[in-house]
């Protein structure tokens, strides 16, 4: 009896906690469907759902639609994912499976850059990209991803490769497989779960990233969703809260869907990098 009560208490605490956690998200959802005069009412969802908020929000920024901002965001995030997965996988194989001079030193530097604040390179990188004439384009955001610039992903895949038995490499070597052969035909195909995790995190982080996009995407036509939302938010009067929230809802839909369908990759990804 006692244990049943304890279990019930735990469920009640967890359920209440969950409600508290997702409350802001539910509130956002409710507000995106509210008519403006009910915006401050304490009901989560109004009796009459106003779907027009989505229509009005979609073309609320004069001369543009959110369709364009979404396709900009998908382009930036998609190319970043391709770059990150390709480069991180190759680099991770190098660190996990090949012996080379100064390897430990380089790996230590990789781990150190994990702790490097982005602010330190913000100004000189901006100057660098300006000298390439890249300011105003998405290149300063995308190209670094092809150079495995996020050590988190390299480390994630290294940890995964370390768990694959070395016998596989050895037998491939005896069969006359070259180093790229071992990497691309033997080891990396086995790393798909880690690569998926890297792709998911990279997508969501790039999707939500704000500072770099604000610095480099100066032209409204190239705005990504977070930039468009910020513009919308700052220009919102009380009249346009509903449409603004409607676009905010759409902005979190991609991340939400990815998480809903691939929860285990996120959880395993954090767990494997968090623990050495």
């Amino acid at each position: 009896m006692n244990t049943i009560l304890k279990l019930a208490a735990r469920y009640i605490v967890l359920a209440a906690g969950s409600l508290l956690m997702i409350y802001p998200i539910l509130w956002l959802l409710g507000s995106s469907l509210k008519p403006n005069e009910q915006m401050t009412s304490s009901q989560l969802f109004s009796s009459e759902l106003r779907w027009e908020n989505f229509v009005e929000g979609w073309s609320a920024i004069p001369g543009f639609t959110f369709g364009q901002f979404f396709s900009n965001s998908f382009l930036v995030a998609g190319l970043s994912v391709v770059g990150t997965v390709l480069s991180s996988a190759i680099v991770a194989f190098g660190f996990a499976r090949i012996q080379f001079p100064l390897k430990n030193l380089w790996f230590a530097i990789l781990m150190l850059t994990l702790m490097l604040p982005t602010q330190v390179t913000l100004v000189p990188q901006y100057i660098l990209f300006k000298s390439f004439d890249w300011v105003g384009t998405a290149l300063p955001i995308i190209v670094p991803h092809f150079l495995a610039v996020s050590p988190f992903f390299v480390f994630l895949i290294v940890q995964f490769i370390r768990g694959i038995p070395r016998d596989l490499d050895e037998s491939a070597k005896i069969d006359g497989c070259s180093m790229p052969g071992i990497a691309f035909r033997v080891i990396l195909p086995l790393c798909v779960p880690a690569l998926v995790t890297a792709a998911l995190f990279c997508f969501i982080w790039t999707w939500d990233d704000f500072l770099a996009q604000m610095l480099y995407l100066t032209d409204t036509a190239k705005y990504t969703v977070p930039l468009a939302l910020r513009l919308f938010l700052d220009n919102s009067s009380a009249v346009t809260w509903g449409p603004m929230y409607a676009m905010a809802v759409l902005a979190i839909v991609p991340s939400f869907l990815l998480f809903a369908f691939a929860q285990k990759y996120f959880v395993e990804g954090i767990a494997t990098t968090g623990i050495k």
Binding site: G17, M21, S42, K103, Q119, V120, V149, A248, F256, G274
Partner: protein, 307 residues
């Protein structure tokens, strides 16, 4: 000898040959990262160090002024002192609170409770989308004068507070936003809890140890490596907080949420005072390095490592 080793000869003619060849492959494989490190990290860091010793307004070429920027920052820059103070308060509150919640919820979820993965998903979700502008936009209204927080508090008799627009409370809304995202630390704790051998618990309860005693004598010590990891990563991230302050409070009112990264951004990209901003960046790097070093140094005393 060398010539033969490049021919892809897999014979066992010498251990050394294959290791030279391996070394060469090693550098080919890590070259994307190595190029990135040199071009996008190390070179910019050196350049930033040099720029911090100059006066540089993007359009003119930098003029060397020695430690002038640093002298100004430490001697007469009131905004620097304010932003540093705000940032320290933010870090000092948000990081421990976040870890406490993460550990508490992880403890509740552990022991294979039914529906665990659903709860885990719900508690983790804010971490995933919490940094977005969409969430920042809600935060402004949730804590607004007629927002839900005030509505709820008024039910239990509190008078409404203008959380966002009062200097005394505005920072706490950003701390709340950060603590709300305790999910990724929680997932790390959960994985750590799973690694604790079950027989340790059984042995302890056979010996008659109470719940609290088991927590402090077994669970907490065995989790210390994850606590250290979370502590370091969250501290580093909190020092760099930007988007939330930029979107939710815009650093105001009267600089009460003007965090360090916001000040650095303003100096660099609003006033284009690149030399000064570089000095600010190096000071931040040193502060973070000192914090991390201190955490690592003390960890020998409190982090429990097996073997």
């Amino acid at each position: 000898m060398k010539a033969r080793s490049t021919k892809g000869n897999q014979s066992s003619s010498g251990f050394k040959l294959s290791s030279i060849k391996e070394g060469y492959w090693g550098y080919i494989f890590i070259s994307p990262w190595l190029i990135g490190l040199l071009v996008l990290t190390l070179w910019p860091m050196l350049q930033s160090l040099y720029l911090s010793l100059t006066q540089f307004h993007l359009l003119e070429s930098p003029s060397f002024i020695g430690l002038g920027n640093y002298e100004e920052i430490f001697n007469s820059d009131k905004t620097f002192a304010q932003s540093l103070r705000v940032t320290f308060i933010y870090v000092l509150f948000s990081v421990p609170l976040k870890l406490a919640f993460a550990l508490l919820v992880a403890m509740l979820l552990y022991q294979s409770i039914r529906g665990m993965s659903l709860f885990r998903a719900i508690f983790y979700l804010p971490s995933l989308i919490g940094g977005s502008v969409a969430i920042a936009a809600i935060w402004r209204n949730l804590f607004g004068l007629d927002g839900m927080i005030n509505k709820t508090l008024s039910l239990i008799g509190f008078t409404p507070v203008d959380w966002i627009n009062m200097p005394s409370t505005s920072l706490s809304t950003l701390i709340a936003l950060s603590v709300w995202q305790f999910g990724s630390a929680m997932v790390i704790f959960l994985a750590g809890l799973k690694q604790i051998p079950k027989d340790l618990y059984e042995a302890a309860s056979v010996d008659g140890a109470g719940k609290l005693r088991i927590f402090f004598k077994i669970t907490l010590p065995l989790l210390t490596p994850m606590i250290l990891f979370n502590l370091i990563m969250q501290t580093i991230n909190s020092f760099q907080m930007f988007t939330q302050a930029f979107v939710v409070t815009k650093g105001g009112p009267i600089h009460s949420t003007f965090v360090y990264a916001l000040y650095l951004y303003e100096k660099a990209f609003v006033f284009f005072d690149m030399g000064y901003a570089s000095a600010l960046a190096w000071i931040l790097l040193i502060i973070i390095a000192v914090f991390t070093a201190v955490l690592f140094a003390t960890s020998k005393r409190w982090v429990h490592y097996e073997n």
